[in-house]
């Protein structure tokens, strides 16, 4: 191989190397978790098509402005008796715009004594946090609040 050809090849291969990473980076622009489920689908999967009723009995405590989206405290409390015949069967927490909107499902029983669930979630951007309560009589109660996120928590 002549010196000129060698240099030509070298510059060509360098060019391809430079191009490939940017292309793959562009493809990874919005990566999604393998188990990602959008909010509407996640809600339909739980309610089975029933329309949840917005209720003041569900109190959802989330900060209105979250400085750090990686740690957002969420507390859900439901003003509902926990007797053997009438109780809150489950509490679900969703983050509407996250890649995977599901955060946690807690399946409760009358032995809990009080329907309450508190945890901390990651929020990727400014969005609504939703609490859904499943009652033992088959009805659903819902409450939501929007949270302004100044620094994203995902990725």
């Amino acid at each position: 191989m002549k010196r000129r050809d060698f240099l030509k090849n070298l510059s060509l291969s360098a060019a391809t190397v430079a191009v490939i990473p940017t292309m793959s980076f562009a493809a990874d622009d919005k990566p999604k978790a393998s188990n990602a489920l959008a909010y509407k689908d996640a809600l339909a999967a739980i309610t089975g098509g029933k329309t949840p009723e917005p209720s003041e009995k569900v109190s959802l405590k989330v900060p209105e402005i979250a400085e750090n989206g990686a740690v957002v405290p969420v507390t859900v409390e439901i003003d509902y008796p926990m007797t053997d015949s009438d109780y809150v069967k489950a509490i679900h927490i969703f983050a509407a715009k996250n890649g995977n909107s599901r955060c946690i499902d807690a399946h409760l029983s009358p032995a809990n004594g009080k329907a309450m669930l508190s945890t901390r979630v990651k929020l990727g951007e400014t969005q609504e946090v939703i609490a859904l309560a499943e009652l033992s009589n088959g009805n659903f109660l819902i409450a939501s609040q929007s949270v302004k996120v100044t620094i994203g928590g995902c990725g």
Binding site: A33, R102, C103, A111, L117, S118, T119
Partner: protein, 111 residues
Amino acid sequence: MSKSKTLIKIKPNTYKNGDVVKVSFMVMHPMETGLRKDKKTGEVIPADYIKSAKFEYNGKVFTTMNIWETLSVNPVITTYMTIDGAGSLKVTFTDSKGTVEESSEEIKPKG
């Protein structure tokens, strides 16, 4: 993460039979989403998060949870439980890598 540590807290400290108390579980876990990249190597960090949790009181399961990677690092989960006699409270976590972690706390009601 190969080993996680679970801390169980009951509030208030002293309780008697029939009381409804707050129980918190804190787990040391990275809760990796599988979307983050290592800043040094540029490689994607594989997903590693707690998938489910089960709470047992004297051998009886009273709460189960499905958990996803959307929960923050080192999750703290709080709920309530009714004190019903002395015994043990057991928490079992399973993560996406299949690691099962158990932790238990003695329940000693006064009066």
